[in-house]
């Protein structure tokens, strides 16, 4: 077991390395004029110096002055040595380089930038977010909890509603109840997040006026005490949470139903029936507990979604959660935050997968971890 975990952890590191490399290359391809625009004012005010700005840009390869040796002069073939500075982005001084050399320089600049990013990241420094003017780690850890609270409530509601319905559907397979549950579950799965969100806003917020339109709290109100503020937040969060629950309920319902059906076909259920247990005992003592095995392992798989935020839902409802923060950062090209957020999600995914595999072995004694 310990050996297996160690092996999996090492593999996870390898995977994370691959993911970070992939994301870094993609992020480097993004258009970069945002940095200049963003820091223009600060530069004029003198709050940061040109050297600071250059250091930030260097880290993400936004300003690579690369020193290269030029080879031979094409005309007469005499060797020509020298150090040339080449601005990677504006291609100043790149005239003497041919395609291959340029590619090599680009590669070198990518490798150098990535190495520096990795060096910082390993020490827990994900850099400074341009948009939020704070360190990426701070922004993530402060906005994470709003998303977490929303999805925790959403997930709890989802489990409370979906599991009983799934069990009922399985016990009445091919009945009217089963068909209704299946169709509703399928509709939940088929609804686009943004459409449901927009629909909710239109109907319950704009037309009926039951709930406030977007945001986490009423900015125009001054709250007497914390409890009032909490109530206002809760009022704002009803629509997003309902949206999340409707969207996710279908999947869990179907999952429960499938597992329950599988369990109901097992030999021990027949045995339980044969020895004269009541239908209630068969279903809730024998079948239901075994249905929970895959469901429990599924919880670990929810980790990335819970901490990583629901990007589209948060965007539609303008909630200041991490998903919306990331979306805003993405639209303006906030390179450090985008990079940090993606890595955050990747790490959560790796942990989630590992935990759910381990949970499986813990919950179900029939599963043995070998290797």
């Amino acid at each position: 077991m310990v050996k297996y975990i160690i092996k999996r952890l090492l593999l996870s590191l390898l995977i994370l390395f691959g993911v970070s490399l992939l994301i870094y290359v993609l992020v480097r391809l993004m258009p970069m004029d945002y940095v200049d625009k963003q820091f223009q004012a600060q530069l004029a005010q003198g709050t940061i110096t040109q050297a600071d700005l250059d250091a930030i840009k260097d880290l993400y390869g936004l300003r690579i002055r690369y020193e290269v040796y030029c080879g031979a002069v094409p005309d007469d073939g005499t060797l020509f040595y020298g150090i040339f500075k080449w601005d990677y982005n504006t291609e100043i001084g790149a005239d003497c380089l041919n395609g291959g050399q340029k590619a090599l320089c680009a590669l070198a600049s990518y490798a150098e930038g990535y190495g520096r990013w990795l060096g910082n990241a390993v020490q827990g420094d994900l850099g400074q977010s341009f948009k939020y003017a704070d360190s990426v780690v701070n922004v993530i850890s402060s906005s994470m909890w709003i998303s977490f609270a929303i999805s925790l409530i959403g997930t709890l509601l989802q489990f409370v509603i979906a599991i009983p319905l799934g069990v009922q559907a399985a016990t009445h397979q091919y009945g009217a109840f089963d068909y209704t549950v299946t169709v509703i579950a399928m509709m939940g799965i088929s609804l686009p997040t943004f459409f449901l969100g927009v629909l909710m806003l239109g109907v319950f917020s704009l037309n009926l006026g039951w709930f406030p339109y977007q945001g986490l709290e009423d900015a125009t109100r001054i709250f007497d005490n914390g409890f009032e503020r909490f109530l206002d937040m809760a009022h704002h969060l009803v629509l997003p949470i309902v949206t999340l629950v409707i969207l996710s309920i279908g999947g869990l319902m179907r999952y429960t139903r499938t597992n329950m059906l599988e369990v109901l076909n097992a030999d021990y259920i027949r045995t339980a029936r044969a020895k004269g247990c009541s239908e209630r005992t068969v279903i809730y003592r024998h079948a239901f507990r075994n249905t929970l095995i895959p469901v429990v392992t599924m919880i670990a798989g929810l980790i990335p979604g819970m901490f990583g935020g629901a990007m589209i839902t948060e965007q539609v409802f303008s909630l200041p959660g991490i998903g919306n923060k990331a979306y805003q950062a993405l639209t303006v090209g906030d390179v450090p935050f985008v990079m940090g957020y993606n890595m955050f999600i990747a790490i959560l995914t790796v942990i989630g997968t590992l935990l759910s595999d381990l949970m499986y072995a813990v919950v179900d004694p029939r599963v043995k971890i070998t290797k």
Partner: protein, 413 residues
């Protein structure tokens, strides 16, 4: 099905037992022989939900691909008629201020920059004002001219400094038109027919879904097949790549890539092909995983040992004996995947990084609801598109589920 394939080479050698044939004949007199394919089809067509899904799909396809033929409007055709009272507000500004020779001239295109943005302007009197360098500048708009000169400052910010002969007939097209016989679902902000655009939007979503799923399957089958069949280091390498793609968050990456595409100045109508490529690259890993798992399982089956013993070549073993048995799983995966792809595409279009306006896509049409006044006052603009997305995804899910049940040999019904 599997046994037949293994027997085929032996039967070619002519060692067919006559007794067996006679027995089969007598059996077939009494019992109707149903091939596995027929059995699957029978089970599939008996399921009510999958039939509903199939019919919905056929209707949707007809709507999107045949419908536009009968529509009097084109995808991006603007209705220039004015429905009720005729309003003609030719906005034309006259010479406002002497030009500064140091300013940079940019000849403005009609839609490149709305001259009235950032400008306080009264439509009825034609008098407006704006601020420049802290100085309030007044101008008067007069009819009958059609050209504009914009001036930009050093930072490239467009400031309406000097406008001549500019005309923009603002209300002469049928903007946000009512639901009527001419426009079954009204017109959008740009005066384009919503109902017609729904049809063209369906073309985009359905075509994109099919192309991407086929490409994904090709990649997934090749890589998953290699991993599953050869095992060892091939498996290790491919599966670690699959793991990496599994850990990459999809939407952020799609957003990054679309920003990259924007910076590359790609034509709007070419963007969909790039989108297809990107979605394929991000999506093949799931199919590869399924194929690999299935092949790992099938590789250990007795009939594969038999195939080995018969000395069949590797391609024959893979293409004749392994892949046909992966096919049922694959078809189910593809059908269910199609629904997911339509959702992804529409979400991207909603976020404004998929199919850009004036191109029609269901997601793009819903994005109009980001404006509260449209969200509240014009549900005919965005609700139908949402319903069509739900219908399409639901139909693919129903069909996929029906196929899965039909292929399942353990299914009781």
């Amino acid at each position: 099905m599997e046994e037949n394939k293994i027997l085929t080479p032996e039967m070619e050698e002519g060692e067919v037992n006559n007794e067996v044939v006679e027995e089969e004949e007598s059996l077939s007199d009494r019992v109707k022989v149903v091939s596995p394919g027929r059995l699957v089809a029978k089970r599939f067509f008996r399921s009510r939900l999958s039939m509903i899904g199939l019919i919905t799909l056929i209707v949707l396809f007809a709507f999107s691909f045949i419908g536009p033929i009968f529509s009097p409007w084109e995808e991006t055709e603007v209705d220039y008629s004015i429905p009720e009272k005729k309003r003609e507000n030719y906005l034309t500004t006259n010479y406002v201020e002497q030009l500064d020779p140091n300013d940079l001239f940019v000849n403005g295109d009609l839609f490149a920059c709305n001259p009235l943005s950032g400008v306080d302007y009264d439509e009825d009197t034609g008098i407006g004002n704006y601020y420049r360098d802290g100085k309030q500048i007044w101008f008067k708009v007069e009819p009958g001219a059609n050209k504009a000169v914009f001036v930009s400052d050093e930072n490239g910010n467009k400031i309406m400094h000097y406008v001549i002969e500019y005309s923009w007939d603002r209300k002469t097209f049928n903007q946000l038109g009512k639901v009527e016989a001419k426009h079954w679902l009204g017109t959008d902000e740009y005066g384009m027919d919503v109902f017609t655009r729904l049809m063209y939007g369906g073309r985009i979503s359905l075509t994109l879904g099919f192309v991407v799923i086929i490409l994904e399957t090709i990649f997934g089958v090749i890589l998953g097949g290699l991993a599953g069949y050869f095992g060892k280091w091939v498996d290790q390498v491919i599966m670690r790549i699959v793991d990496i793609f599994n850990c990459v968050p999809q939407f952020p990456i799609l957003l990054i890539l679309s920003a990259v595409l924007d910076s590359m100045d790609i034509e709007a109508n070419m963007k969909i092909y790039y989108l297809m490529g990107i979605m394929t690259i991000l999506g093949w890993a799931g199919i590869a995983r399924v194929v690999r798992g299935q092949i790992l399982f099938l590789r250990e089956q007795e009939y594969m040992v038999a195939a080995e013993a018969l000395g069949l070549s590797v391609p024959r073993k893979i293409f004749r004996h392994l892949l046909p048995n992966v096919l049922p799983q694959l078809i189910v995966q593809m059908t269910l995947g199609l629904g997911g792809l339509i959702l992804t595409e529409s979400t991207l279009s909603y976020l404004g990084i998929g199919i850009p306006i004036p191109g029609a896509a269901w997601g793009t049409m819903i994005s109009a609801a980001q404006k509260p006044e449209i969200l509240q006052g014009y549900p005919n603009l965005w609700v139908p598109a949402g319903i069509l997305i739900v219908l399409a995804v639901l139909a693919f899910n129903f069909v996929g589920d029906g196929l899965r049940d039909a292929f399942d040999p353990k299914a009781s019904r």
